[in-house]
Symmetry: C4
Subunit: 232 residues, 4 copies
């Protein structure tokens, strides 16, 4: 794997230094994080826009009207918590990353793409929670997000010059497993959507709980491997 980073064109010492500084700026993750945080902030708040003040019509109490708002409120809360989880994961990952190359920049953009559809998926499911197609659309969004996370993990950890600290193969496998596992569970829920919509829905609902549970277990574990406990 020949890497641009390591092969500067031969020049004078000063030129090489200036060139190296330019490369560092080109690979600085700062703006990748700024764009990502902006997108996360929008995704996290997007479904609030769907929570409209209900119209009061004849013979219709406000309490009843608010009951109509409940599905959009639930969808907002679910999407909020999920986007929060993904943001925490993104922050943990990029704490390991020192430089971004063009591949990583684009993988990050392609990760944000399905992420932006999360509010739509949550909203759809909040409205039609027994419909197999809604369950599948929601599952598909989550699977795509998980797939992108796996790809970014493999890409970044395979390129030690992008990282602050080289990871050994055991650490890389552990991180891979933690990223791969939710994707496989979501795939199961996706496949069960038609045959057992209730079970499928239950799996989607259980995952965030499982996330918080697994963090608690990992953190209380004997061998404290902070990076992995933190990268759940």
């Amino acid at each position: 794997m020949p890497d641009d980073w390591e092969v500067p064109v031969a020049r004078t010492r000063e030129e090489v230094d200036a060139h190296r500084a330019t490369l560092e700026r080109l690979h600085d993750p700062a703006r990748v994080l700024a764009l990502s945080d902006g997108v996360f902030a929008i995704i996290i708040t997007l479904l609030v826009l769907e929570v409209h003040v209900p119209e009061l019509t004849q013979g219709h109490s406000l309490r009843e009207a608010l009951r109509e708002v409940r599905p959009s409120l639930t969808a907002f809360a679910v999407s909020f918590i999920l986007a929060g989880m993904y943001w925490v994961g993104h922050r943990d990952l990029f704490a390991l990353i020192r430089r971004t190359d063009r591949g990583l920049v684009w993988l990050n953009i392609l990760y944000l793409l399905p992420l932006c559809l999360l509010p739509f998926g949550a909203s759809l499911l909040g409205r039609y929670d027994q419909e197999p197609v809604a369950l599948r659309v929601y599952g598909l969004v989550l699977i795509l997000i998980a797939a992108m996370r796996v790809i970014i993990w493999l890409y970044a950890t395979n390129r030690p010059h992008l990282l602050w600290e080289r990871l050994d193969s055991r650490q890389r496998r552990a991180g891979l497993a933690l990223n791969l596992f939710p994707g496989l569970v979501y795939l199961l829920a996706f496949l069960l959507a038609r045959a057992a919509p209730g079970l499928s829905l239950m799996i989607y609902a259980a995952m965030p709980l499982l996330y918080f549970l697994s963090i608690t277990i990992l953190r209380s574990g004997r061998r404290r491997d902070e990076e992995y406990a933190d990268f759940t």
Copy 2:
């Protein structure tokens, strides 16, 4: 309270240093603030989206049409000022915080959740300001925000390794009181919503005024305890 921070796995000196640097990056508050500021910017401007250009129909002056816009304008201004107050409080709090652990990161996300509902609450109240249910929904949002502020205050000040400067127990109690007090007042307004909606509304309206008044009093006080005057 055993803390991950203080117990690095034994390694060589260089590995320990690198590990420590990674931990610092994992606990850097920068992205927590970036996400929060993004969310605050959206919340602060959200209700402007509700201020629509009125449609002119037959026998209907623009002035009358603008009168229809007034409730959404008021809701926007109220929500703007409240979100501004919360943002100032958030900024003051995080000026004390040096590192964020996973708990604090999640508490901050859970603080942003009710905050995002503030525009909805303000909008609902702007439209149905005599309705007990609207008064209760608005109160509930404010109580949840206050509760999260209290929890974050207790969590952070209990963990000196997260702070720039350790606070003594008097300072912690003072900060707690300042965070708890508005929550209790909002609880009162919430409980009065059915029996005395007018009084409940008056309490909600009075709180921002009280906030600016109390700052003025605290700042002109003899013993200048800048942290607390500033953390109102």
Copy 3:
């Protein structure tokens, strides 16, 4: 003017240093700028949301449908350029500011409030450009923005400890004039709205042109007072 900044409570040397560092963090403008830039980014793009893809109905060409989009496009462009001008002014002002105290933080929030109404004003005017009430609403928004800019300018330049570099009274007067002048012109347009709506509209249209013209003149002037040429 006794200032909190200058009167730390007497303690040991280390405590005083730590206290001073906390004060510096409390007065750091970073998050004020982050929130402002977020709000500006939203304001600048807000009216794009109003540019909807037109619906094609029977006997209605797309070209005709697009003609219907024109007012919202114009309103978007006007609001975009104006918000851009205000953002440039905000950036220039805060390049002079080293620390923010509570007063400046709140003045900045209160400056963002009328700014958020700019898209509404531009949209209203784009739709009813001959209506005196629309001309007045638009003028009022611009007057409020100008007033807040004047207040912030006076507040900040009166407090040298908030600035990187102390300004002399001539510089302060020059900056005041540059901030006050547009406000007075907008006030004139506001007052003329009923008697001469055409003239009023012309004044609003002329101001951005005047802005770019005055910059060009100031910059080509003999005595290059960069700060003021830049703070137009």
Copy 4:
């Protein structure tokens, strides 16, 4: 080209230093990037707002309803990828830029203007992909973006004091060509819109593919001129 930067008013040494520091702050690109990243984050997510949960009516399966969502989904994905491409280009350009003067600040704002219309153009084309007028509107937006990129490139590279590293004329021509080329292709598609709408659409669709292809080719080229390979 007399430049403000180089001609400070004669003063004492300390004043000159302070003045120079103020100039550096006035020319700091940080907030230009913050505003741009905020605008990019909004543009990138804007069309998600158009992907609404479909309403189920009598005799209408969810699958059919989702089919109605497809055009808005496609428009979102196209606009997302294009905005991503432009953001990557913006990031690469500003990695070369050390200081921003008033001209560059305004050119950047004027670059963001047509960029904000990209979602509208993509949405229009997603809905009426055979209509010459839709093809022209979309083309016009892309041409304006390309034109602003060319102007910014010429402006910045003509002013070495704005750059980290001076570019030689070969490098400047290479960068110009890379910015000019897409604009000319879009102009062709624009001109073909009436005579050959199918071909015009195909050109629009081909450009992103061409972008990724040309990067791959440039990167695998023998003489690795990292700046240009990276500035595609």
